[in-house]
């Protein structure tokens, strides 16, 4: 009975299904398929070149009970996500809000300027130059010239600076997409609402921001939160290109890097898949949590 209903439904919506089919096919082949594959491979021991062997929960046991580095990577990633995601959201919002008050031409120029770093995603090279450990590295040079330090600081290999640097560089780079969506959304805020609010007793622009602008922007907040959470859980390539993979003493080691380490260096794809599955679960739950939180904003 149920299946008949299902087929009836298919027939009824056949045009809509036909239209979404190209996307669905690609989505299943390149997204759903690999995700399912990773879940399955997570239960095997697989070195890429030889066929996988089923080992049950061994990989997870090894990860959670034996692998200190995985725990370190988890800690780094979570800490990173907790700091960078809200910060980047806030930065995007404030930035967009401020830019919004400029005349259109200036606004366009500024929007481009803020968006540029995310276009030039590969331009972390500039940071390695600024932070070069040589005494002729930019930052070291100025610090030494102004007498803050007498010998060059190894920004990219001294563990105490690495996490902070990763945070700054990530924030610099990710002001992009989320920011752009805020700029667009702010244009759509109905002027009459702010006028009405002014009559109703809004005293300053901060109040206006909190009670009017932000609630209207809720869909964009949601979007931006998703982007930044996924972004900060997936941070890795940036760290690898700044500090190498693995970074000295794993100071900037993240879950994604740990996964790459297992897959590309140690040829342990089974464990890498187990990590990927863990990360997947983590990201999905974090997104749900954020969703709940955003729903309360401005209420």
């Amino acid at each position: 009975m149920r299946s008949i209903q299902f087929f009836k439904g298919l027939k009824k919506h056949r045009v809509s299904i036909l239209f979404s089919l190209p996307f669905l096919i690609l989505f299943f082949i390149f997204t759903v398929g690999p995700v399912l594959g990773a879940v399955v491979l997570g239960f095997t021991r697989y070195n890429i070149l030889e066929p996988p062997v089923f080992v049950g929960l061994d990989n997870y046991l090894r990860l959670f009970l034996k692998d200190d580095i995985f725990m370190l990577a988890m800690k780094n990633t979570l800490l990173f996500a907790c700091i960078s995601a809200p910060l980047s959201m806030l930065a995007c919002l404030i930035g967009a809000w401020m830019i919004n008050d400029f005349p259109p031409i200036v606004r366009a120029v500024l929007t481009f300027v803020f968006y540029a770093p995310s276009l030039a995603g590969g331009a972390v090279g500039i940071w390695t130059l600024i932070l070069s450990g040589d005494s002729y590295g930019f930052l070291n040079h100025f610090l030494m010239q102004w007498g803050f330090t007498t010998e060059p600081i190894q920004w990219l290999s001294d563990t105490q600076y690495m996490f902070g640097i990763l945070l700054i560089v990530t924030l610099w780079g990710c002001l992009g997409t989320g920011f752009l969506s805020y700029v667009a959304a702010l244009r759509g805020v109905d002027k009459t609402l702010t006028e009405a609010a002014a009559i109703d007793g809004i005293k300053n622009r901060l109040q206006e921001l909190w009670y009017i602008t932000v609630p209207i922007l809720r869909p964009q907040l949601m979007f931006s939160a998703l982007i930044s959470i996924t972004g900060s859980f997936g941070v890795g390539t940036l760290s690898a290109s700044l500090f190498g993979n693995p970074s000295p003493n794993y100071a900037a080691h993240t879950v994604v890097l740990h996964m790459e380490d297992y897959a590309n260096v140690r040829y342990d794809l089974g464990i890498a898949c187990a990590i990927a599955t863990t990360l997947f679960v983590l990201t999905v739950s974090a997104n749900k949590l954020i969703g709940l939180f955003i729903a309360r904003v401005g209420k």
Binding site: R45, N47, I48, L49, E50, G95, W97, M98, I99, D101, F102, V109, L110, V113, F114, A116, P117, A120, A123, G125, I126, L129, S132, G133, D134, S135, Y136, H141, M144, Q145, W146, G147, T150, E151, P152, Q154, S157, D158, T159, Q160, N204, R205, L206, P246, P248, N249, Y250, V265, R266, Y267
Partner: protein, 926 residues
């Protein structure tokens, strides 16, 4: 509304910062580009000491400019063979004192393919710096039968000719770049000709001055032939018949529809010359057939898009004669696109008288107008470096800008010297501007330097406050010097035409170009751009550059016996996708240019093919140092053959060590004593931070990374920990710099002792002409063992070639044997060097071939002795963990003040666990 304004201000500031960042990025990219200097295929020159010798200009200024017309034969008619290290000394009589040039007839003896280098002595001494190293040109034939257009599938061979050549000796190594004259006194003089590398046969030497050719106006009056009136005659540039270098091969320029011939689908070899044709003395010759006696104009379609605001200059001769004086220097100005140029003289397009039949037109790179200027600037750079070092000795490389070092009282001569250099620089800048009618990159660099020097003169405190700029200004001046000497030129075709016709237009026009580009773009979607392994071929992947690919392809076609194996070799250029190829079953039969780590990763997982089982393996293995095979051996199985080798040696600046009275250190203890003297003068010792230093120290104590049966690490015993502590102490106690640009600091002299890979020899040889003869290389410092011997072991590394599939096993093995053989490696290395220059030298792992690469005797001895002491780390499952945790332990010791030994011991267990885990995976017993 206050928030409003603040918001704007903050946003403005943020924006400025971001923009500044990107601007910064741009200018840095430019700087980096400047550092990449190739040397256009120039041969080696010996490091004969030229310190203290005058330049030619200084030498020539001593006497009146008298150039007698006498011809003084020096040798008897007999021929003399000269090989490297030999010399020839002859007495001869001079009737009239004056300046004479040397005309030398010689032929090349079969040898390494580099330029022969000679040096000259008159009456027992080298008269000036330029005479200390002279390159002689070789003679090559472009073996192309002329049938059908050339494509990249039919690369023509370049064959060397060993016939007799005659030329006036000229400087091609330094900056004078013209015919050299020697002042001879009346009476008996002695000429000494020393062969520094390669070998020649001398057929005759005479002292005589070249005759001055008549100028065009005079020559024109003597013309009796009529002007040619037929169709223009085109000669494609790529059809050149003779040339001085094998690197002057035709190449494909797909950039434009106007290049002849061109096609969006076929890669025609349609241009010749380019950046390889840029050093003085290099020539190309074309055969031209003219239909009737007459007067012809010579037009050339060329492109010179490298040296902005500078001319490339060529001498044009017809059948070995200079038609008129103006042909001596034909200037080709900068042009970003192809352009027509007709040879002009006396303000009009010049006519050349040619008889009916075949003629040889030769274009030879000749002195630019810059030679004297460059010689002066070279001297200025040398002196600036010297001054820089003198300041470093007082202030250190990172002077405190708040401190007054009292440089006026400590080194007053140096400040005077700087002021004098500023005046000289300004003179040279003005001269350069006058020559090219305006500012160029050269004048900018010199002006910047001069401006900085004038600031220094205002107040010596400015020296310390902009010290890093000072250094980078000096080095960009040095780089410009190397660049400005080069005169690259690409030639599409030559054209002989007369009064009734014109040359074809050089551009293709808008619509033709658009069509061409569109077609090229669409063609990229076709099969020609796919990687498909054909079934019945031996597929070989290499991951080097396209030059390497082209050269190896030529070698395979020419000398690998494909009939014997019954398979065609399909050589492909594929970068870093071996793993994916293996998984998808598209792995090549043979892979070149792979690391030992990669091949062992495959081998441990049963994908590599062991080659130690072949009957003749032991024979083949003798081609290499035993150590180089260690990283690809596991148990009894060997999985790859080495291609190149690399290890470290010690470079030293003899001038600075002498000045500070430091002996070149033989042991690490001697380095420590030298450190005191270096530190006192604010100079540094360069030693790489990383596992290579630790490995070397460990090996020198007779220890190894792993235990006997390679199941666990052995880094925690007493001696090994000592080695680790010593390694860390270089950075903790002696404060050696952790990251640095070794080449630059060695050049400026702030790092007079430097441990670096021996390949740096080649870079220093080319890129640092200003310190030629002032530095040397020797074996790495050793450790004194208990039995009294000095152990100078060094850590070896290299790149490998391996078989990945068993489908065509025998053919693959044949290929590998052919590829690593002495002949192939040597020919490959020579051709690579011709194309990329000395800095791209292929340091082959084949011992026999390595000896013939072109290193001079003494340099080769050092490199070989050091290599014989080379030890390599064996392959172990999970070996990457050791490297990783060694770095981590060093990191802890260096930045977290942890005791080095403690740090390493703490990690030893983790490493052992990983090795055990991986051994278990590969089914090995623990």
């Amino acid at each position: 509304m206050k928030m409003h304004t603040i918001g704007r201000i903050i946003a403005g500031i943020l924006a400025t910062v971001t923009v500044a960042n990107s601007a910064c990025l741009l200018c840095l990219a430019e700087d980096n580009a400047e550092d990449v200097v190739s040397d256009g295929g120039f041969g080696t020159s010996t490091a004969a000491s030229v310190a203290g010798l005058p330049s030619f200009f200084e030498y020539a200024a001593q006497w009146d400019a008298v150039y007698p017309e006498d011809v003084i034969p020096v040798t008897e008619t007999g021929v003399t063979e000269l090989t490297a290290g030999q010399s020839l000394a002859v007495d001869f009589r001079v009737d009239r004192a004056g300046f004479y040039a040397i005309k030398l007839s010689y032929s090349i003896l079969r040898s390494n393919g580099q330029y022969p280098v000679i040096s000259l002595g008159i009456n027992g001494e080298t008269p000036y710096a330029e005479a200390a190293a002279l390159n002689l040109m070789r003679h090559w034939e472009n073996a192309w039968d002329g049938g059908g257009p050339l494509t990249d599938a039919t690369l023509p061979q370049q064959n060397e000719l060993y016939d007799v050549q005659t030329c006036y000796l000229r400087d091609t190594v330094r900056y004078y770049s013209d015919i050299l004259y020697f002042y001879l006194q009346e009476g008996v003089n002695t000429l000494e000709l020393r062969m520094d590398s390669e070998a020649i046969t001398v057929h005759g030497i005479t002292f005589e001055n070249p005759k001055q050719a008549a100028d065009y106006r005079t020559v024109k009056q003597g013309y009796s032939l009529s002007e040619y009136s037929g169709e223009p005659i085109y000669v494609e540039g790529e059809s050149a018949v003779y040339q001085s270098d094998a690197s002057l091969y035709p190449f494909n320029d797909p950039s434009s529809a106007s290049v002849s011939p061109s096609s969006p689908y076929v890669k025609y070899l349609n241009v010749i010359g380019g950046t390889n044709w840029s050093s003085v003395g290099q020539y190309l010759e074309w055969k031209v057939t003219v239909p009737e006696d007459g007067l012809y104009k010579i037009g050339i379609k060329y492109r010179q898009n490298t040296n902005y605001a500078l001319n490339s200059v060529r001498t044009i001769t017809v059948d070995g004669e200079l038609p008129f004086d103006e042909c001596k220097t034909v200037a080709f100005p900068y042009s970003a696109t192809y352009k027509n140029l007709t040879v002009t003289a006396d303000g009009e397009e010049a006519w050349f008288a040619l008889t009916r039949g075949e003629h040889i037109i030769r274009m030879e790179v000749t002195v630019g107008t810059l030679n004297e200027l460059l010689t002066h600037v070279e001297d200025i750079v040398t002196q600036l470096n010297d001054a820089y070092r003198r300041v470093v000795m007082i202030t250190g490389t990172n002077p405190d800008s708040l401190r007054d070092y009292q440089l006026e009282t400590v080194i007053p001569q140096t400040l005077d010297q700087l002021e004098e250099l500023r005046v000289r620089l300004e003179t040279e800048t003005a001269a350069l501007k006058a020559l090219y009618g305006g500012a160029s990159s050269g004048t900018k660099i010199m002006e910047t330097m001069a401006k900085q020097l004038s600031k220094f003169a205002e107040d010596s405190i400015n020296i310390t406050s902009s010290f890093a700029d000072f250094k980078s200004n000096i080095s960009s001046l040095g780089t410009w010097l190397v660049d400005a000497k080069k005169q690259p030129l690409s030639i599409d075709y030559l054209c002989l035409y007369g009064s009734e016709s014109e040359m074809r237009r050089a551009g293709a026009g808008f619509w033709a170009s658009l069509k061409f580009q569109l077609q090229s773009f669409l063609y990229t979607f076709t099969d020609a751009y796919m990687i498909n392994n054909k079934k019945d071929t031996l597929v070989v992947w290499m991951s080097a550059g396209s030059t390497q690919h082209r050269i190896l392809k030529q070698l395979v076609d020419a000398s690998f016996n494909q009939e014997q194996t019954g398979l065609q070799v399909d050589l492909k250029l594929v970068n870093s996708s071996l793993l994916s190829a293996i998984i998808s079953g598209k792995a090549p039969d043979v892979a070149l240019d792979i690391t030992a780590e990669d091949i062992m990763n495959f081998a441990f997982r049963k994908t590599g093919v062991s080659i130690s089982g072949f009957d003749d393996y032991t024979e083949v293995a003798k081609r290499f140092r035993a150590g180089t095979l260690v990283p690809v051996t596991f148990g009894d199985e060997v999985y790859a053959l080495p291609q190149t080798q690399r290890y470290e040696v010690l470079f030293y600046r003899s001038d600075i060590l002498e000045e500070l009275n430091i002996k070149v250190p033989d042991t690490w203890d001697e380095v420590i004593s030298a450190m005191a003297a270096l530190k006192k003068n604010n100079l540094e010792f360069g030693i790489p931070l990383g596992t290579s230093t630790y490995t070397t120290l460990l090996f020198q104590r007779g220890k190894s990374f792993y235990n006997q049966d390679l199941t666990a690490t052995a880094v925690t015993d007493y001696d090994s920990l000592e080695a680790f502590k010593t390694c860390c102490s270089w950075f903790i106690e002696y404060k050696c710099p952790i990251s640095y640009d070794g080449l630059q600091r060695f050049r400026t002299g702030e790092m007079p002792l430097l441990i670096a890979g021996f390949e740096m020899y080649n870079n220093l040889d080319i890129l640092a002409p200003e310190i030629k003869g002032l530095w040397g290389m020797t074996m790495i410092p050793g450790t004194l063992r208990e039995d009294g011997t000095l152990d100078r072991s060094v850590s070896l590394s290299g790149v490998y070639s391996a078989i990945l599939k068993e489908d065509h096993l025998d053919a693959a093995w044949e290929f590998l044997k052919w590829w690593t053989s002495s002949e192939t490696q040597l020919r490959y290395a020579q051709r690579i060097e011709m194309a990329l220059g000395q800095s791209g030298r292929h340091n082959t792992a084949n011992i026999e071939a390595f000896a013939q690469l072109g290193y001079s005797e003494d340099v080769l001895r050092v490199i070989e002795q050091q290599g014989d002491q080379g030890v390599a780390v064996p392959a172990v499952p999970g070996s990457y963990y050791l490297n990783r945790y060694l770095t981590n332990a060093m990191n802890k010791a260096l930045y977290q003040d942890e005791d080095p030994a403690d740090a390493l011991i703490g990690f030893a267990k983790t490493i052992d666990e990983e090795i055990a885990y991986k051994r278990e995976e590969f089914g090995l017993t623990n």
